[in-house]
């Protein structure tokens, strides 16, 4: 008897938790298509008026452009810095290796308000407050761990003999890495890069401190909106962000699928 109850309890519990996890997402998406001017759920009817309103609002479009710029710079910086670092950590006997790794990963568990406040104190005298570069430099610190973890994981399971074979056949070691190893681990790098991009798009607190003035990224403008406006435009922006995340992760998913064929794991936020 108790066995049967137990067997039913676990799937039922799982189902309830899944409903709890997904309900808010469904609510936001449905409300963004609401025909009503207020946030009622379920919506009385459906329309795309809030998307039309968004796309004709230069303020929101400007915020989108800023977010994309910061995200793109963050992704490029994180990848250019993180991939070589991952090579160094997985292939060379670095003194204090676990300390260096901890240093790179430390940003993941540092409360964002602390990053925001301390960067603001640092940026004010340097004139980096309210600059896209300043925010991208800060987001890179948080994007690096994802690139490094995923690249190390890919490197660990990539077959190094292929690279050695190239060197034996006369390729320089650097050329062998560029032509042989990088293409093999590219899906893993891409997964890390997507995570770096998405964390930059979503990040609010550092953005509030560093880029909260005239040129607001999407997260900052959304935050201001959530606290004041009460029409479904906010839900439409949220749904847009969900769409952006799903699209980016679909790319990462394809990359992961490619790498899974080679048996590589992936680590994400």
């Amino acid at each position: 008897m108790s066995v049967r109850v137990g067997r039913l309890a676990i799937p039922t519990g799982t189902l309830l938790v899944l409903l709890y996890l997904l309900f808010p997402v469904v609510v936001v998406v449905l409300i963004s298509f609401s025909s009503a001017r207020f946030l009622s759920f379920p919506p009385p009817g459906y329309s795309i008026q809030w998307y039309a309103k968004l796309l004709s609002d230069p303020d929101w479009l400007n915020s989108l452009a800023i977010t994309l710029q910061v995200g793109a710079l963050t992704t490029v910086f994180s990848t250019l810095l993180g991939v070589p670092a991952a090579f160094a950590l997985s292939r060379y006997g670095i003194p204090g290796r676990s300390f260096v790794t901890a240093l790179i990963l430390a940003s993941l568990i540092t409360p964002t308000i602390i990053k925001g406040l301390s960067l603001y104190l640092f940026y004010v005298p340097l004139g980096l407050v309210n600059t896209i570069w300043g925010l991208a430099a800060a987001h890179t610190v948080s994007g690096l761990p994802y690139v490094v973890i995923n690249t190390i994981a890919s490197l660990r399971s990539a077959d190094r003999d292929l690279e050695r074979a190239a060197v034996i056949h006369g390729a320089s070691p650097l050329w062998a890495v560029v032509r042989i190893t990088l293409p093999i681990i590219a899906p893993g790098i891409m997964v890390g890069a997507v995570f770096a991009f998405i964390q930059s798009v979503h990040e609010l607190l550092v953005a509030l401190f560093v880029l909260g003035g005239v040129e607001k990224p999407l997260a900052v403008k959304l935050w201001a909106g959530v606290r004041s406006e009460v029409d479904p435009t906010i839900a439409a922006v949220s749904t847009g962000l969900i769409g952006m995340a799903v699209l980016a992760y679909a790319c990462a998913g394809v990359a992961q699928l490619l790498s899974k064929r080679r048996g590589l794991p992936a680590a994400g936020p």
Partner: protein, 293 residues
């Protein structure tokens, strides 16, 4: 007579062995130094300065001003409840992901990961709609005749926890799942063969083996909960003010940067203390191992 000539090749090799990793790692470390460590140092420095002299005044006012001291306690309290709550709700799901039917398992995994991808703002915001005075929950309760006046479901500890646990659950589940995958389930089968009931086999074999994963997930979720800002700011009342909100308030509305820095240092110190305590008891490597889903 032959003079032994040092072969130049090994020397060059060993120079390369030192130079190459330094060149590969150097830019990253410089970046982290300039955009992470140096600013943190600056914040610590600021927190000890009063009128150009060293002082602990900011820390004293943190602990003696009731609203700051209260926020410290509230932060601790909310983080603990949130972590325990997500552990209780997350453990069965992670367990199901390990032992459940293979096809359903894949779907469950995807449904756990999807909310993990989304913004904190988006996820906190929907509860405003559901729990509002004219929201779904209140209308439902009125329709079935349980209440006549809408209940105040928002802006209290309950709504903050509902929002925070929803946000932390995927991380909790994935971390537990990663650890549970490493458990040798033949041990559970062995216990059952030797006559243990499934219930008994679970509690005396599987559960103890899953404890390291539980500790890792607990630590991770607790540390991240300590720094929550968006959810309590949106779904809480002044009574649920957490330390991050205090830091934001003191910095951007009172413009008292040294006091905000002191609060920041305190939050940072608590975070580091928790990590060190964990590292003493277990190994921190396990934490990152657990994060690789």
């Amino acid at each position: 007579m032959t003079v032994p000539v040092a072969d130049p090749a090994p020397a060059r090799m060993s120079l390369n062995r030192a130079l190459v990793p330094a060149l590969l790692l150097g830019p990253t470390l410089l970046w982290i130094f300039f955009f992470f460590l140096w600013p943190l140092g600056l914040m610590v420095w600021q927190s000890f300065i009063v009128k150009d002299a060293f002082s602990l005044d900011h820390y004293a006012s943190l602990f003696t001003t009731p609203i700051y001291a209260r926020a410290l306690w509230t932060t601790f309290e909310i983080s603990i409840i949130c972590t325990v709550g997500s552990l209780i709700l997350g453990y069965p799901v992670a367990y199901y992901l390990v032992v459940g039917d293979a096809r359903i398992r894949a779907v469950v995994m995807i449904l756990v990961i999807i909310p993990y991808w989304l913004d904190y703002i988006v996820r906190s915001f929907s509860w405003l709609i559901l729990f509002g005075r004219r929201g779904l929950v209140n209308r439902f309760l009125i329709d079935i005749g349980l209440i006549t006046e809408p209940l105040q479901l928002l802006y209290n500890l309950g709504s903050v926890l509902v929002g925070m646990i929803q946000i932390m659950l995927p991380l909790m589940i994935l971390t537990l799942f990663g650890a549970m995958l490493r458990i040798n389930r033949q041990l559970v089968a062995a216990a059952e063969i030797h006559g243990a009931s499934p219930w008994r086999a679970f509690w005396s074999v599987f559960f103890p083996l899953s404890l390291p994963g539980v500790y890792a997930a607990f630590l991770l979720v607790f540390i991240i909960s300590l720094g929550f800002y968006i959810t309590p700011a949106l779904l809480g009342s002044p009574k649920e003010t957490m330390i991050s909100q205090i830091i934001m308030l003191v910095a951007t509305e009172l413009f008292d940067w040294p006091l905000a820095s002191a609060a920041g240092v305190l939050l940072l110190a608590v975070t580091i203390a928790v990590v060190i305590a964990y590292n003493r008891a277990f190994s921190i490597e396990r934490l990152w191992g657990g994060k690789e889903a």
